[in-house]
């Protein structure tokens, strides 16, 4: 009795090298990608193009775009780099939500068609590539570097910081500048001059760093209508952030600081109010 049981166990272990009944080995499944196309020298306005892309369950949307570019339409333009959600290049609207293409998988979207558009609220340069110049200027405008509270010379040694002090700014330091938060923010959509969640996250990364003494300089930059006061606490920026930076926290804690500064500044000097 025992021997036949062993034999059937042996038989069960001996599987063929290639399982021809596995899903991947049948006729390749395809998925439709509807991509918003725009070429300024040819088109007056963006319009959707459709592609049938063969795919496997491990493919990301980025890989599907690369498949299109390699085999179906070499003129498709899109940004990408690391393929692993750390460079922030491949942000785009996937089925109406701001997402990183390398971090969004076809298996979760199939079998329905996938709609791909460039990031909302940004001018389109071409296809899925948007203009980022203003975003860079906003980052530059908030003193994105440590301005030491108590400067030390090299001989005096390094600036020391406890782990608890680092926790105060840690999440804000994780920002990869992917701009998904700007795509989600309706106030940025309404007012392109709004400094926005990403720049505010970077601001708070420095202002809440224990080594930094530039808090007032940064508050002076965000005290206007286009600064922190365009935010209405929608909170979607933090929901779409792929790195859990929590930019909503960065913006809204600066409302209290800016409000306090509003009153304290009158004690310091006479400035005109808009």
């Amino acid at each position: 009795m025992a021997r036949s049981a062993n034999n059937s166990k042996q038989a069960a272990k001996k599987k063929p090298m290639l399982d021809m009944t596995a899903p991947d080995m049948k006729a390749p499944k395809t998925i439709e990608l509807r991509v918003l196309r725009y070429c300024p020298s040819k088109d007056s306005a963006p319009a959707f193009g459709s592609f049938q892309v063969p795919y496997t369950d491990d493919m990301s949307v980025l890989q599907a775009l690369q498949e299109i570019k390699a085999t179906l339409d070499g003129s498709l333009a899109f940004r990408w780099s690391c393929r692993m959600a750390v460079c922030g290049s491949c942000g785009m609207m996937i089925n109406g939500e701001p997402k990183l293409a390398c971090n969004t998988f076809l298996r979760d979207l199939a079998p329905k068609p996938v709609t791909i558009e460039p990031l909302q609220n940004f001018p389109i340069e071409r296809d899925l590539v948007v203009t980022v110049g203003d975003f860079v200027k906003k980052i530059e405008s908030i003193y994105p570097y440590i301005m030491p509270k108590a400067p030390k010379t090299i001989e005096q040694g390094t600036y020391l910081q406890t782990p608890a002090q680092m926790e105060e700014y840690a999440s804000f330091a994780d920002c990869i500048n992917c701009m998904l938060c700007y795509a989600a923010c309706p106030q940025f959509g309404a007012n392109p001059d709004f400094i926005g969640p990403g720049a505010m996250a970077l601001l708070q990364r420095y202002s809440s760093d224990s080594r930094d003494g530039g808090q007032q300089a940064r508050l002076d930059r965000i005290r206007g209508e286009d600064g922190v006061w365009s935010c209405t606490a929608v909170g979607l920026c933090s929901e779409v952030c792929p790195k859990q930076v929590d930019p909503a926290n960065a913006v809204n804690q600066n409302k209290s600081k800016s409000a306090l500064d509003f009153f304290l500044s009158r004690l310091r000097s006479k400035e005109s109010v808009s």
Binding site: Y38, C39, P40, S41, A45, P46, Q120, N121, F122, P123, I124, E125, R126, T131, P163, A164, Q165, E167, E168, Y169, S171, A184, P186, G189, A190, S208, T232, A233, V234, G235, L236, S238, E239, D246, A248, N249, N252, Q253, K255, S256
Partner: protein
């Protein structure tokens, strides 16, 4: 080199009515309910200033089914306001570190909501005490 002619898609006029923004719009409109309640209080104040007859008419309205329905709707809106208020509250605070670890935002929200419920209960208790002693 092809020309550069950036194309900005206009923000949809009714963005606030569609997901994912609808919840935010509803949350903000709960403020209108609070204004309606304040208006009822102000109306009571007007009637109080006009004299006992006017105020009795106000009390008579308060005891009507219409007023009860309105207040129940206002109560629902006030509870929704309270709930969403404390969901946002942690966003307005700096990162708090306790014993080396960040205090989580959902913990802050829950604690604050419980504190608020306690405040409302305390106020009701005050009303009971005052009511027993007048």
């Amino acid at each position: 080199m092809s020309e550069s002619r950036p194309y900005l898609r206009a923000q949809p006029r009714h963005w606030w009515a569609h997901q994912p923004y609808r919840a935010y719009t509803i949350r903000e409109l709960s403020g209108v309910a609070l204004a309606i309640y304040a208006a009822i209080l102000l109306a009571g104040l007007v009637c109080l200033a006009r004299g006992p007859d006017a105020f009795e008419a106000f009390r008579h309205f308060l005891a009507s089914p219409v007023s009860l329905l309105i207040h129940l709707l206002l109560l629902a809106a006030a509870i929704w306001h309270m709930w969403t208020w404390f969901q946002i509250l942690p966003k307005t605070m700096p990162k708090l570190v306790w014993r080396g670890k960040l205090i989580r935002q959902d913990v802050m929200s829950r604690t604050a909501t419980l504190a608020a419920v306690a405040c409302s209960i305390a106020l009701l208790a005050l009303f009971v005490v005052v009511g027993a002693n007048i």
